[in-house]
Amino acid sequence: MSWLKYTLKRLLMLIPVIICVTFILYVILSFAPGNVAWQILGEDATQEQIAQLEAEMGLDQPLLVRYGKYMLGVCRLDFGTSWFGGEDIAKLFLGRLPFTLLVAVLSILFAVALGCPLGIGSAIKQYSLMDYGVSFVAMLLTSMPAFWLGTMCQILFCLTLKWLPVSGVGTWKHYVLPSVILGANTLASMIRMSRTSLLDVIRQDYIRTARAKGASEWKVIMHHAMRNSLIPIVTQIGITFAGVIAGAVVTENIFAIPGVGVLLINAVKARDVPIVMGTVIFVTIIVGMINLVVDIVCALIDPRIDFAS
């Protein structure tokens, strides 16, 4: 049952990670300029009113005490409430998560479904016209910033062709552009990663052996090379997925998706510490779990990976 121990160990390792991340963040936020009490009360508030609110919010206490109290609350699954709207942080985050998850999953699916075949094709036909073409597309996608590509796609597909809505959520049509834009960069990574990975594998001795034994090219690629070349690709998918969850701010902004990225960035701007802290904790857990899933999937693909070791 080494896999169970491994999973448990990885989950437990999340605890110090969360403590480190939250502490660093809490310290940074506490030193960030901007008086929260004053922002809540407005510029006409008196010093007495500000001091009273700061005392009510516990902002007059030392940093470590505030952090300690916050983390004790987290242990009781109490992530606090927004300083500016009073909403429960857990509900707020979980209300936003489905939008971000959906766009993230769709973007990864788009990138993998298109990127892997293109990368593999490129590797099989190395130095061909197709290889150069695909490499060029990958370079182009990496170079184009999301905010520019997003706006250009909005103009083309929404205003000119009238195929899709400009922004928002609600129907499948709303998710087409955000997924493609969010996945564009990942698509480029997938193309390059799958190409490089397969090229690396097909130069191995056992591939040469398979060919020498008279196996067909199709069988060599699909049966012998593909499986081993998948490991770095799966790892890359995991890393990208975590990045997409945490950093979908630009896409969510452009397409007015009420997701986690926008929630986090708005909270940082407003110095709404409970939202920032709560969101970061949730995102840390999700990223940790995704990494764990990636490790397990890698073990499934590659029998050489052993949990016990």
Binding site: G34, I40, D44, Q47, G168, H174, N253, L292
Partner: protein, 538 residues
């Protein structure tokens, strides 16, 4: 054994993925309003009939307004301050005793009329009869008293209910509001966001928190829901005292990206875009979209710090700056040249605004500016202009920076800060200069006091080096004077400010609105309010 390992690992993976999805699903249930409630804007946009198609067919009864700043405080008299974004909802949920019209004038609302005592200390409001709150209760003098008492004690009470003392109930439909000392601009406070009359009995029942969550007013629209970061929905008040609104549902949709707002408007996803940049409006070339602008009740002015040690303490240095600023160029940078240049720190629409020709105007004169600089003790010390980063004022500040360099002030720095940092520095009064838009709910020349009064919230700085006592005396005189007799008083104040070069008034700021051409009743409002009551579809 190997197969067993694989199966178990697959099960763990599947259960984790399921857990993630379950988080998402349950979130909708937990939030109650987050995920499950599909964005009405997008529902409309996604509908096969579509926003534009419905408008064309004349069947549309919903308006979707796109805004980058969302309203989230739906009760203005509470312990938390509310601001311009909140006004989007507040001005439609609540009615005041007086309305502030789009051009800045006042008109009767919940008060049919009002009288002012000769000494200017008592305002008697005669209330409209038969006005119902959204919960069906009738509005009476008790609600008015409660509104004023609560509002005056709140964080923005002293700024908007200036000199408020008490409210006496004369009868069910008459109240006397007493001031501690005369304040001619008081009616503008009455028409401001904290003048929105709320229901006393409902407040007693639900308290402040309840009122924030589910506000009840007498306005043309009832509050339906608020989903943080996404939208606020209002529905028409069928029993509204001025008649049922033509638009049945209003969705205030949060769309952070300004490009998306305009593209969404052109695509029919949104019907109205709040305050788009004027250069964007000027470039709009779409028969389905139109736009309007109005002079706002805000002055964009560069205020200079004269109380802090540094170059700004020297009047010659300030005068050099005053003479060196070419306001036309600044106007071009901030409003594509579409705003009106200000000669004094008072908008023409303000009550008590002095007539043109009755006050001094500082001329743009580069040679004079160079001479003033030569006479000053400017030693190349850093001189920072504080602005909000990414704002149009940052553009204006950069133009001014270049203009100052041309006369020899090479140490001017544009200090662009994010909103929270900007507000903190603004409050600390440690800046050398600041460019701000003073969008004043009190549409009166008394707004001059913001940067020139000795009675203000920034006491620590003032104690060190107070502003001109003569100005403060004149401000008191202006408050105690009624009608046109106030104008010479404010002209005198403006003259002192010009002579001392305390500030450089730049432009009267502009509010804009872009909207679907088929939407009627649209008007840009001087305070940036949106009166959905007047909207209707062609």
């Amino acid at each position: 054994m190997k197969r067993m390992k694989k199966v178990t690992a697959m099960l763990i993976t599947a259960s984790m993925l399921f857990g993630l999805c379950a988080c998402g699903d349950s979130s909708a249930d937990n939030a109650g309003q987050g995920a499950e409630t599909q964005t009405p804007a997008q529902e409309s946009a996604a509908d096969e009939t579509g926003s534009a198609a419905e408008a064309a067919a004349g069947t549309k009864d919903t308006v979707i307004l796109a805004t980058s700043g969302e309203p989230y405080r739906f009760f203005a008299q509470g312990s938390q301050s509310c601001a311009g974004d909140d006004n989007l909802a507040l001005s439609n949920i609540y009615d005041c005793l007086l309305f502030l019209e789009p051009d800045g004038s006042l008109s009767p609302a919940l008060a049919e009329s009002y009288d002012v005592s000769e000494d200017g200390l008592t305002y008697t409001f005669h209330l409209r009869k038969g006005v119902k709150f959204h919960n069906g209760e009738e509005m009476t003098a008790e609600d008015v008293k409660m509104t004023f008492d609560t509002g005056a004690a709140g964080p923005i009470g002293s700024a908007l209910f200036v000199n408020y003392d008490s409210c006496d109930i004369v009868d069910d439909y008459t109240v006397d509001i007493h001031l501690t000392s005369a304040y001619a601009a008081f009616p503008y406070g009455v028409a401001s966001r904290i003048g929105g009359i709320f229901c006393k009995s409902y407040y007693d029942e639900v308290g402040e928190e309840g009122y924030y969550a589910a506000p009840v007013g007498t306005g043309p629209y009832k509050f339906v829901e608020y989903v943080k970061g996404d939208h606020t929905t209002l529905e028409a008040n069928e029993d509204y005292w001025r008649g049922t609104p033509a638009v049945k549902k209003v969705v205030i949709q949060t769309v952070a990206d300004t490009n998306t707002q305009i593209l969404g408007l052109q695509n029919g996803d949104y019907d109205v875009v709040r305050d788009p940049a004027i250069d964007v409006c000027l470039r709009l070339d779409d028969p389905g979209v139109t736009w309007a602008k109005e002079n706002s009740v805000g002055r964009v002015t560069m205020y200079m710090n004269s109380w802090k040690e540094g170059p700004g303490k020297d009047i010659n240095f300030r005068k050099a700056i005053q003479a060196a600023v070419n306001k036309d160029d600044v106007n071009e940078a901030m409003y594509s040249g579409e705003a009106e240049i200000l000669d004094i720190d008072v908008c023409a629409s303000y009550g008590g605004c002095p007539d043109a020709g009755t006050y001094q105007v500082a001329a743009y004169d580069v040679e004079a500016a160079k001479q003033y600089l030569a006479d000053s003790n400017y030693d190349g010390s850093e001189w920072k202009i504080l602005v909000q980063s990414g704002s149009r004022y940052e553009n204006g500040a950069k133009v001014i920076q270049a203009q100052l360099m041309s006369i020899g002030i090479t140490s001017c720095v544009v200090d662009a800060k994010d909103n929270a940092s900007y507000m903190e520095e603004y409050k600390a009064r440690e800046w050398d200069a600041i460019i701000a838009d003073n969008l004043s709910s009190v549409v009166d020349a008394d707004s001059l006091m913001t940067y020139h009064s000795m009675e203000s919230w920034w006491d620590p700085a003032v104690q060190g080096s107070p502003r001109d006592p003569e100005i403060w005396e004149l401000i008191q005189e202006g408050r105690a004077t009624q009608g046109d007799a106030r104008k010479p008083v404010y002209a005198k104040i403006c003259d002192i400010i010009t002579e001392e070069a305390y500030d450089v008034p730049l432009v009267n700021s502009v509010v804009t609105v872009a909207y679907n051409t088929k939407l009627k009743g649209m008007q840009a409002h001087c305070l940036g309010n949106y009166n959905f009551y007047y909207y209707s579809w062609e």
